[in-house]
Amino acid sequence: MEGAVIAEPAKAAIAPSTRPLIRVKAIAKTYQNGTLALSDVDLAVRDGEFLSLLGPSGCGKSTLLRMIAGLGAPTSGIIDWPQANYDVRGEPDRHLGFVFQEPTLMPWATVFDNVAMPLTLTGMRRSELTGRVDEAIAMVGLEKFAKHYPRELSGGMKMRVSIARALVVRPRVLLMDEPFAALDEITRFKLNNDLLTLWQTQRWTVIFVTHSVYESVYLSNRIAVMSARPGRILTELKIDAPYPRTEAFRTSTVYNEFCRVTSAELKRAMPAGEDH
């Protein structure tokens, strides 16, 4: 952290807007059982961008996303937040919302209480948080289910609760781990559009893990394609299409061309000798 600050003061002074929000430098991660999940990952996340991490199953996307959130330390390399304030423990003030790959809800709590939990943990009283919780639940369209328990919801609805819980803190950075993988296509398209609208109005930075080429092209400014395990960033693709993107974009030739290029890159990322 120290090093980073000293190394780049000049650059930062000249062009502060190009200073990344998150910088991942030469990250490697070996799990305790000896699995090398990531090796030599470099990535810079810019303020306000929509970045997708695309890669084959098991390549370390979730691992990388968790480490960016501060869950689990890398075995080597550093992740720093050049624009954030660091507290006494050396923790950056991340302001993030995290959507886990699994819904990760508390089965004993209602939808409302699940969504309210991040605010409860900041010490907010129930009377203060109700408005914000209702708002977050409305964003994912589950107003009618606020009093239900997770076991009474479908897989996709649980995932939406999990998204509402990430949004309720009004994050600056939203980390999402395959949030729509369990949804049907129609719902997925709808939530894609909702997410894009929210992203544009709320000016979040989004890091979005997916294994869908089509989804990543539709949503992102930029796609980082990861190689099979041990994961590295193989290429970064810029998706230079204007927002707002609508259903018309999905059928455009530009979109198809981006998808073709991205698919080709992803194919290169697949382990040798396997079809997919």
Binding site: T104, W108, P118, Y149, P150
Partner: protein, 271 residues
């Protein structure tokens, strides 16, 4: 609710009560018949009718004894739950605590209560028999609460723990909002075992304590046996069983009530 519910479901539920009762009546009838027919002396095996007579005759003393046993059992159970949950909380907050104390909890658990009883009686004082019984019953009932609750608190979904870390939850918040609710099904399972054990502990302790100061059901059994009043012995035994069954069903009802909304063990299956 639906048509199938009426025709398919409720008869089987009714049968579940009726069949055991019929079986019980059949058994008692056979017992009564055999005892009379074979002319077995009543100090060997009294017929059920004589046991009922004994129950009604000594109703006052027996109920008083029942109440005493229930009191010891209940208090021991409550103390065991409080100590067990507190212990589990300490264990999950600090590895050091667990490492240093858990072996002793195991030692206490595996040592037969009858062999500890005389010591406790001497230490607590023979003039405070009730206190000694309480301590002994607590020792017996304590361990399932401790080990179950500890297991439950450690079985928290690790992604939920991650979530709590993400939002910088304090230890207290993690305990209050995550670990204790997660441990609830385990605690309730432990309580069902402990409730029965508390009763067993109270009875065994009273047996060991012996002598005339005891006034619980165990003492009634010893006393009746000494006087060869076998019907009354059986009557006390019946009351003990009824007490045990009531404790079990009471705790099962509590479990269903608390977990009905969310835990797989208590929610009705619809698919």
């Amino acid at each position: 609710m639906s048509v199938t519910g009426v025709t398919g479901d409720s008869p089987s539920r009714a049968w579940r009560i009726v069949i055991p009762i019929l079986l019980g009546i059949l058994f008692l009838g056979l017992w009564e018949f055999l005892v009379r027919w074979l002319q077995i002396p009543k100090f060997v095996l009294p017929p059920p009718s004589m046991i009922v007579d004994a129950l009604t005759e000594d109703y006052g003393t027996l109920i008083a004894s029942l109440w005493n046993t229930l009191k010891i059992t209940g208090m021991a159970f409550v103390v065991a739950v409080v100590l067990g949950v507190t212990g589990a909380i300490l264990f999950t907050q600090s590895r050091l605590f667990e490492m240093s104390l858990f072996p002793y909890a195991v030692v206490l658990q595996v040592t037969p209560i009858v062999s500890i009883a005389p010591f406790i009686l001497i230490w607590v004082g023979l003039d405070h028999i009730e206190r000694a019984l309480l301590i002994l019953a607590t020792i017996v009932a304590f361990f399932p609460i401790l080990s179950n609750t500890t297991l439950g608190m450690k079985s928290v979904d690790h992604n939920l723990l991650n979530l709590f870390d993400l939002y910088h939850a304090s230890r207290w918040q993690r305990l209050r909002y995550l670990q204790l609710p997660s441990a609830m099904p385990y605690l309730l399972g432990g309580m069902k075992i402990s409730g029965g054990l508390a009763l067993i502990g109270a009875v065994v302790a009273e047996f060991v304590a012996g002598s005339g100061t005891g006034t619980g059901l165990a003492w009634r059994i010893i006393e009746s046996s000494n006087r060869l009043n076998i019907p009354r012995m059986f009557a006390a035994l019946v009351l003990l069983s009824v007490l045990g069954v009531m404790i079990f069903f009471g705790l099962s009802a509590l479990e269903t009530m608390l977990l009905r909304k969310w835990h797989e063990s208590a929610v009705g299956r619809e698919n």
